[in-house]
Symmetry: C2
Subunit: 72 residues, 2 copies
DNA sequence: AATAAAAGTGCATTATAGTGCACTATATGA
DNA sequence: TCATATAGTGCACTATAATGCACTTTTATT
């Protein structure tokens, strides 16, 4: 997943749960500014930051085998 | 997945592919020091760094729903 | 349209990730 | 065992992520 997709997934999930950025920031312990930056596609969060955010949304960061076979 | 698990997955994958840290660093464009730090569990890489490393190993960073139901 | 809530942005500061270099430690093979 | 390859670490520096604050823009809602 590219960064944009990860961002979209986080945003979609947050919105689905009807949580505001402000609330998510509080719940996750990540600064509001940081969250805003990330969601607006401007950021390059650290793994820890991403995990904190994902966690609260019931998501988890993982690694999976890429579409094996052929050259993208 | 906790950081340690992600690290283990990267290391296992790198070793399975018989690639040295040095080679992986070169292929991924990530500094050797950074890679060493990450693999030895000392780091908190940025998403971009993690993606660069994962990419070369045929892995991708993703978000997935956590074990729904009940309290971990 | 007016208001209010939520999201986005500029600026400045602090904390820390990324990096190279030199060196140590450990694993591996002859 | 000795040599060599590979992995780990201390130090120092640069780049940038994380953050708060104040303000603007956008998105509902009435």
């Amino acid at each position: 997943m590219h960064v944009e997709e990860l961002v979209e997934m986080i945003k979609a999930r947050r919105e689905a749960l009807q949580v505001t950025q402000e609330t998510l920031a509080e719940l996750s312990g990540v600064g509001l500014r940081t969250l805003k930056q990330f969601e607006s596609g401007k950021g390059n969060p650290t793994l820890l930051t991403l995990q904190k955010i994902a966690d609260v949304l019931g998501l988890e960061v993982c690694l999976k085998l890429k579409n094996v076979s052929r050259n993208k």
